[in-house]
């Protein structure tokens, strides 16, 4: 094995941890493939977004401090979610603005927090090998797109692995997940996700790909309910698709 380029602390995210551990392992293997050692700090929790967006600022601050303490000492922190990534990188400093000590710590931490595709492209300079040809369509998850500028990175990585992206109508429009939104306003959320999966399905792509678990589960759940045979993947899964069992891809 060649020498490691550095250490990456993986912020797993609640959704990957509890609902899609397999995606977590795809993420680990990508970071290792890019030449980095992966560490999974045991004392990690949720990023605090439910409290932050639910108006419970005090508890969001408490959670943010915990996360900062758990991750501040690592060289890089990588998150395979634009939403949790955006929470930490984009909102922590503002959230802790009145707490001088933790505000400074947040500044230190956010400088080394990366969304996975951003890390792979711009820090690790990772070049995926060609796997096989495939046609997919891509949904730009909102927080990644607008808070972290994630747009071309996953597309570039996928392209190198042989994936051709057929763009759907309005790939940047929200899928209607929105955290608690989807259960607080299920009717509005349903209308949004229905439109989204219909637009995706119109492309005739073999799969729908995105970078955030919330959107993924929302779109996948809707497609399954509608009986539409279009599988949904995290881009990390597709980049490690030789790991996936045959039956999931066909």
């Amino acid at each position: 094995m060649t020498e490691e380029k550095g250490e990456v602390a993986l912020f797993v995210t609640c959704l990957i941890d509890n609902l899609r551990p397999d995606i977590g392992f795809s993420v680990v293997s990508l970071i290792e493939d890019a030449g980095f050692k992966v560490i999974v700090p045991e004392l990690q929790s949720c990023c605090g977004q439910p409290n932050f967006n639910g108006g419970d600022k005090l508890n969001a601050q408490k959670t943010a401090r915990k996360v900062i303490d758990a991750f501040i000492d690592y060289e890089y922190v990588v998150i395979a979610s634009g939403s949790c990534g955006g929470m930490i990188k984009h909102h922590y400093i503002d959230l802790l603005v009145d707490d001088t000590l933790y505000r400074q710590k947040a500044e230190r931490l956010t400088a080394k927090v990366y969304e996975l595709s951003h890390f792979l492209c711009e820090v690790a300079d990772y070049k995926p090998v060609f796997i096989d040809k495939m046609e997919v369509t891509y949904h730009d998850a909102c927080a990644g797109l607008r808070e972290l500028d994630i747009k071309n990175q996953p597309r570039a990585l996928l392209a190198q692995s042989g994936v051709n992206i057929i763009e759907m109508d309005e790939p940047e429009v929200c899928c209607g997940f929105g955290g608690a939104f989807c259960v607080k306003y299920p009717e509005i959320s349903n209308q949004m996700v229905e439109k989204k999966v219909m637009d995706a399905n119109k492309t005739d792509a073999a799969a729908l790909v995105t970078g955030d678990l919330g959107c993924l589960m929302n779109m996948e759940g809707k497609l399954h309910r509608l009986g539409i045979d279009l599988q949904v993947f995290h881009y990390a899964e597709l980049l490690t698709r030789e790991r996936l069992t045959r039956e999931r891809l066909t």
Binding site: D17, N18, G55, E172
Partner: protein, 480 residues
Amino acid sequence: MQVNSKDFIPLVNLALDNNSLQASLGMLGKGLSFKRTAAVADFPEFDQLRDEARDIKDHCLQYLDIYLMKFEEQVTNKGGHVHWASNEGEAREIVLSLCQAENARTITKSKSMVTEEIDLVPFLEDHGLDAVETDLGEYIIQLRGERPSHIIAPAVHLSKSQVADTFFDQHSNLGFNEKLTERVDLVGEARQVLREKFLGADVGISGANFLVADTGTIVLVTNEGNAELTTAIPETHIVVTGIEKIIPTLEDASTFIRLLARSAVGAEISAYTSFITGPRREEDQDGPKNFHVVLVDNGRSEMLGTELQDMLRCIRCSACLNHCPVYLSIGGHAYGSVYSGPMGAVLTPQFSRLEEAKQLPNASTFCGRCESVCPVHIPLPKLMRHWRNKEFEAGLNPLSMRWGLRAWALLNRHPLLQHMLASLGIRILGLFGNKATGYIIKLPGLAGNWTKDRDFRTPPSTTFMSQWKTMQKNRQKKEV
């Protein structure tokens, strides 16, 4: 401001079931966002102008009192009058007394969201005045007894045939007995009806897009030319507008004008842009004899110095509505407020009460598309979150949610316990799953709102964290 945002959920359901509304919203969303993107792509200075516009507004808000007084001085110097209304009631009374002083009977009115905010027209009608909306969209909804569903396209919720029906019903007593089907004919008929009103009006009421402090000028941007007829023909012109519309100079006006039409409808400039300064001068051939500006506060100055101050930069372009996937799903009426979409979700709790309007800032996925198109960089999601914080502080949200969030936060401070409970949780969740399909089709409680319209993939029985732990242990064993 009249608000029925408490009925948000039933209004949403009505809107989602309304096919003709859905068709209109579909066209609105696609059309305007496409046009805006094209207009912005054609104008490389756009982003630089947005920064400038934000800075101009921030500067004005910082010195609001000084600029407003300068504006008043200029208007007065030019023979006009400025009236200050601290709330909507005062604003209505001022306008009414100005109309009564002129013995006015008929009033023409061009489009103004502030007059909607203060419910001016119904008030004037209650006092026996004949007040006619002259903006086509506003005219249509006035005939139908509705409120605007969009801040610049008030009748966007209606189809052509609905408008045709309304005209047929309401214009037959004026001698128009033909049921029209073509857009141009409908516009033509409205024109004929309105022409009489324009010529006979005693008072014209308009809003203002910008107030220029330097010169006392009001800037009006429209696409129909009705504002020009409203403001130039009657003997008296009353401008009703908000105090935040102030900008320093005419040069600044050009910055905003270049942003406004592009953001609103994807056009380089609107069809009519009028600069009105004071009443008719001796050498002028036309224009009103009396010129009044009613400056309305109505909760605006309270926003100064708070997080909400940024909202006072708003130029009412509607880009945030046109790009909001929630607005485009439910339309404006569901918000129960004349201000809808993201900007309405921020303004309505301020102009009414949070208890009344608390649903609105909650009904957002925080997708951030509004902020990304706002020409003056208003952080709309952050401002909606401001109201969620206030709601939480005031204990206005449901107990189950408050305790749920607290419990979750507590677990976040004890990650190992959280991981343990999560492991247990996913096993319980697994019990709901269908083995054959790998999906859960019905969940209890709040999660049932998820499975109402979608399935939920059954999670595997072990979490990432516990699998990772086992792997690390095995690795260590091997190494020993």
